[in-house]
């Protein structure tokens, strides 16, 4: 993995002037002494310095609520990452900077919290992890509402947050913060990847009708679909209707879809919501009159709506069928532990934890501003999606996006529910730092200015 060398970090300056000796640095760094993660090379900030032989990571996932099954798989990914960071194995053996002997020589310990798929609960849980458990890094969440709430807290507390499943444009757009990084793609990139495939498949000049979950993710999701379906496919939106998060009966919303005018019905729902809305749309016979699209797939939804997903397009963060070495090795060691293929939630959880640990090793400190500088602009591969960049201006990973299609129910197995249609290269996706969601991003301070 190559490191982005375009920006000189303060750590680089410190390293370069190492010959001047530790004593000479004290004025620059503000404290006395040079050492590992637990010493006082830098001033106290957040939960730095880390005392003792252990460093605590906070795994804050939904263990109840609409996205609890996602949370369970995220937790499996996190615990594998912890195991490999401490004892070697998995991607740790091939990941630059990681030793398999903890992080900076400290054993990784963890605390778990339940976000209940609710931003307030997630904030409370993260607060406990920061204040009571001294977590140096918080990661997790499934739901952009949760991710945004927790990353705001982490910015205030100067504790790093590594996002897990969060697909709203706002996470690294209008609500971005310096202390948070996102490996997952976003709704804007879903629009960029999906629109050309759908235009090719269904034709141009069609009318589409949207239902969307009425919170941060659903709102940016529907806006991105509107933008790219209009721009790329020259499609026209008939109407876009919000539905409350957690709706279980969509029949009234679906009754309102004008069958004779609508060519494509877009269901911007996720998890349990999508597992209800898609089968109900098919039960109402809407698939006989129009095409149905579910822009963001997940395994929970695909499993729970398996009879209904055949032929339906969407996107996914990653899939176990990818043939590259990293993906296959991840599938293998995950399967050994849990006896089935991992979901993409598990991959993001695993990857985000390793990314953080590797950045700490490169920075040679747990001091958050230095770790953040190591991650900003960092280029990496080996996370299953080829070359990726953790962009400095908005902390959004620039990476490939998978377009998926539901497998026919007769072909489906426990693991095979979706087929990969295409892997859109990152060069065909994304947006400049002054465009798209990034234009609204102001990251905030490092905490050592």
């Amino acid at each position: 993995m190559a490191r982005d060398t375009t920006a000189l970090s303060r750590r680089d300056v410190l390293k370069a002037s190492g010959a001047a000796g530790a004593a000479g640095l004290t004025g620059l760094a503000g404290c006395a002494g040079i050492g590992g993660g637990g010493s006082s090379e830098y001033p106290a900030l957040g939960n730095y310095p880390v005392e003792g032989d252990e460093v605590v990571f906070g795994f804050n996932v939904p263990q109840s609520g609409s996205y609890s099954q996602e949370g369970a798989d995220e937790l499996r990914g996190y615990n594998l990452a912890k195991e490999h960071l401490n004892n070697g194995g998995g991607w740790v053996d091939d990941w630059d900077g990681l030793t398999g002997d903890g992080v900076l020589g400290k054993t990784v310990a963890s605390v778990e919290g339940d976000t209940a798929t609710d931003p307030d609960t997630a904030r409370q849980s993260a607060t406990r992890m920061i204040n009571r458990d001294n977590a140096i890094m918080i990661t997790g969440g499934s739901s952009s509402g949760v991710a945004i709430a927790v990353q705001e807290l982490c910015q205030e507390e100067k504790v790093q947050f590594q996002c897990c499943i969060t697909h709203s444009n706002d996470t690294t757009g209008g609500s971005c913060v310096r202390y948070s990084f996102r490996e997952m793609f976003n709704a804007y990139m879903t629009g960029q990847a999906l629109a050309p495939v759908l235009a090719e498949e269904y034709g141009e000049g069609l009318n589409f009708y949207q239902l969307y979950a009425d919170y941060s993710w659903g709102q940016t999701q529907q806006a991105s679909m509107e933008q790219f379906f209009t721009e790329v496919g020259n499609w026209s939106q008939i109407e876009s209707v919000p539905t409350p998060l957690g709706t279980s009966d969509y029949s009234s919303y679906l009754s309102d879809v004008p069958r004779d005018e609508t060519d494509v019905l877009v269901l911007n729902h996720y998890g349990l919501d999508a597992a209800n809305s898609l089968p109900q749309a098919i039960e109402a016979g809407l698939d006989q009159d129009m095409e149905i699209v579910v822009p963001l797939y997940n395994r929970l939804m695909a499993e729970a709506a398996s009879d209904s997903i055949g032929g339906i397009f969407g996107t996914a963060d990653w899939n176990w069928q990818l043939e590259d070495d990293a993906s296959q090795s991840f599938v293998e060691f995950y399967r050994e532990e849990h006896n089935r293929a991992p979901s993409y939630g598990a991959r993001i959880a695993y990857t985000q934890t390793l990314q953080y640990a590797a950045a700490v090793e490169r920075a040679e400190t747990f001091y958050a501003p230095e770790v953040i500088r190591e991650l900003e602009g960092h280029e990496y591969s080996g996370a299953g999606l080829g070359n990726e960049t953790m962009r400095g201006c908005d902390h959004q990973a620039q990476r490939d996006v998978l377009v998926m299609q539901g497998a026919d129910p007769s072909e489906q197995t426990e693991d095979l529910l979706l087929n990969i249609v295409s892997q859109t290269p990152r060069d065909d996706l994304g947006y400049a730092c002054d465009a798209g969601p990034a234009a609204e991003c102001e990251l905030g301070d490092y905490g050592d200015e």
Binding site: S64, G65, S68, Q69, A72, D214, V241, P242, T243, P244, G246, S248, D249, S251, S252, Y253, S255, D256, R259, L272, A275, N276, P279, Q280, E283, A284, G285, Q288, L300, E303, A304, A305, S306, D307
Partner: protein, 317 residues
Amino acid sequence: MLLQSEIASILLNGLQQGAIYALLGIGLTIILGTMEFLNLAHGALYLVGAYTGLIVFQETALSNGLLYSSGITTLGFEGGFLAALIVVPIVGFGIGLLMERFVAEPFYDRPETDQLLVTFGLALIVEETVKNVIGGNTFQSIAPSTIFGVNVSQPISLPLVGLFPSWRLLIIAIAFVVIGLTYLAIERTDFGLVVQAGTHDSEMVRILGIPINRSYSLVFAVGAALAAFAGLIGASIQTVSPQIGTERALIPAFLTIVVGGAGSVRGAIAGGLVLGVIISAMTQTYSQWAQIVLYLFVALMLIVKPEGLFGSAEVGE
């Protein structure tokens, strides 16, 4: 024509939703009315009904499951859901008897807060048990594709409404048959007379020498069977997961009896249908206002007619 079509669609969707609310509301209201017992575990009974239905449906499906593994591969129709229609209310009835005996009875003379705590605790225990025994997975809805050889998985075309899922039409009919039978049982039988008298003045019924304690068990069990049946109906149109008891059943059941009036079967039926139609109408017209209007309506009912549409003043006091 467009307006008529819209109204017809709202009414049909409202009937379907309202039928489930009414089933839940009847069960809750007869328990509350007769025994003045607030049962927050009513949602858990819905959950039990949904999961029992799911298990029966899967195990009696003729392409796999227990019957299939025993060599029974055909009965001439898809039997899973029909079996569930019979088994689920029986299971609900049995659980209701046990609940009345071991949970409700010791708390009849205790303050309402104690009743709330014990039944809420029971609801949590049921939810956690389901999670631990069956897992937190979400299951697909369990609607059959055929009943007696008739395809019910395809929508049918109705005048004014247009295409409507035929299975939903069928469950409206099934739910209303059950609601009608319950209504007749309470209006036209000795058991019903005791229930009705109990909702008005249970002390007087006891003084008259009627063995109301035995009726209590029956009332509780019938209420539980109706909640379980509502769970089965719900599971046939929506996914099944451990949290559905609280999210989809408990709150609607209470709203239903607030509107209809505590202790009144007619009230529960009317309340359920009114709420179903309000939700359906708001969803189809101003969806973002649906929840707000729903709760405003219930609040208005509490102010203008606190005893509900058909509630008895005694229970409402």
